[in-house]
């Protein structure tokens, strides 16, 4: 075995999920006869639970295009797409030196994330909460 290139490209969770789906992975009971290995099904099951299940390549392209102005590293952008943070505190661990680099633009960035990337069904509730929070804070000011 010869490793020609250890990093021949980075894939988002969504792309891996699409790849597995194109191989025939799905939520049906006849998994044993599918042309997908059991280990691939485990990955599929994991990804199906994440926000990647609602994303499409077009949405991610649009998001990356929209967020070029924030000057994020590719890895950070990938991580934001994979995690889909729904509040500023969730962005903080993803972006290095978040305070100094993003500053006041973090709310704007967050809005971009929330609007462009579709939420996970379980995230819907918490989104409403953060929306309420925002209203409260604007009232205070």
């Amino acid at each position: 075995m010869k490793i020609l290139q250890s990093n021949a490209g980075v894939l988002t969770n969504c792309e891996v999920l699409e790849l597995l789906k194109s191989r025939g992975a799905g939520k049906y009971p006849t998994r044993v006869i599918a042309a997908v290995a059991p280990s691939e099904f485990k990955v599929y099951d994991y990804l199906e639970q994440t926000v990647a299940s609602k994303q499409t390549i077009e949405i991610i392209r649009k998001f990356v295009e929209d967020c070029k102005k924030y000057d994020l590293a590719n890895g950070e952008m990938l991580n934001v797409v994979n995690i889909r943070p729904s509040s500023a505190v969730e962005i903080d661990p993803i972006i290095q030196d978040c305070d100094s680099r993003m500053g006041d633009r973090i709310d704007e960035f967050l809005e971009n994330v929330v609007q462009v990337l579709p939420p996970h069904p379980s995230q819907l509730e918490s989104n409403e909460d953060t929306a309420e929070d925002k209203e409260e804070t604007t009232d205070d000011q």
Binding site: M1, K2, I3, L4, Q5, S6, N7, A8, G9, V10, L11, T12, N13, E15, V16, L19, L20, R23, A37, P38, S39, E40, K42, V43, D45, Y46, T50, A73, N74, G75, L78, N79, N82, I83, P85, S87, A88, V89, E90, I91, D92, P93, I94, Q96, D97, D99, I106, D107, S126, D129, T130, D133, T137
Partner: protein, 292 residues
């Protein structure tokens, strides 16, 4: 999290596969060779992405099968240092947490990387289990089994295969007993050390609660309130009163370089590395009666 790797491999194609199309036959062989296996420094192979070229087909003298050289791309699970990943709890013991992604189980959160300050209590639901509780602003936030847990990748290690060494029989016996007691865990070829010790990490439910109380970007951890701007430049007063690792560059735990981390394979850690080399100020918590 997922990266493609380009690999060239010479493989023998058994003759019973000759009735299948060459591409499909080679792909099947590659899958049986690589799928769900860890390649050293490359990560866990998830899937064969595509086959770029197939050369050869040479039959060696005395061999009843053709040998091909294939160039192909694999989808590898190789998180970069600093990446945030959501996982589920698999084990919770006094030594820390073990997290699982479903397809990958060897993610450990050691005690020094737990959210801080913390205390532990016996888990009511699991016998011999320990529940970790983060204390924040006088409130307790337990790490329980229901939630998705976000962790940050601290290191990715590929331990070398254990080699049995020939030794004197007496010595061997006693050492074997010792080693059995020490590590009961089966060998794992790839081990991820995760960190929960930053804002926004830990069970996702925590941050829903906290952000309700305060606008999220104003949430400050107790350490930050002690007058330090950022956690990384926090100065630890050593036993002699001298500050150690005041400069973030000196810190052994700063693996996250300015360069895009996933463009390279992470540099190997020094041999004498242990979790206790991590953040010195956290040791103060460990030895300061937290874990008496």
């Amino acid at each position: 999290m997922f990266v493609m790797s380009e690999i060239e491999h010479t493989l023998r194609l058994p003759p019973h596969l000759l009735n299948r199309p060459l591409n499909a036959a080679i792909k099947g062989e590659l899958e049986s060779l690589f799928l769900d296996k860890v390649i050293d420094k490359l990560g866990l192979c998830v899937s064969v992405y595509d086959i770029l070229s197939i050369d050869g087909g040479f039959i060696f003298p005395g061999d009843g099968a053709s040998t091909y050289t294939a160039r192909f791309r694999l989808v590898m699970f190789r998180p970069y240092v600093g990446e945030v990943i959501s996982a589920r709890l698999k084990e919770s013991t006094k030594d820390g947490l073990r997290l699982s992604l479903g397809f990958f189980d060897d993610i450990y959160v050691p005690v020094p990387l737990m959210p801080n300050p913390y205390h532990t209590e016996p888990d009511p639901e699991h016998k011999n289990g320990t529940r970790w509780v983060w204390e924040y602003m006088g409130e307790n936030y337990p790490i329980d089994w229901a939630d998705e847990i976000r962790f940050r990748v601290h290191t990715v290690n590929y331990p070398p295969l254990p080699v049995e060494q020939g030794k004197d029989s007496e010595q061997k016996d006693s050492e074997e007993k010792d080693s059995r007691q020490k590590d009961l865990k089966p060998f794992a070829p790839m081990v991820i050390t995760g960190s929960l010790d930053a804002d926004g990490l830990g069970p996702t439910a925590w941050w829903g609660k906290v952000s309700k109380a305060k606008p999220p970007h104003l949430c400050q951890r107790p350490l930050d309130q002690a007058g330090c701007k950022s956690r990384d430049v926090h100065q630890w007063q050593g036993p002699k009163g001298e500050s150690q690792h005041a400069n973030p560059q000196d810190r052994p735990s700063q693996c996250f370089s300015e360069k895009l981390p996933h463009t390279e394979i992470e540099p190997a850690l020094p041999d004498d590395f242990s979790p206790h080399h991590l953040m010195p100020y956290q040791l103060a918590y460990v030895y300061g009666g937290e874990q008496s």
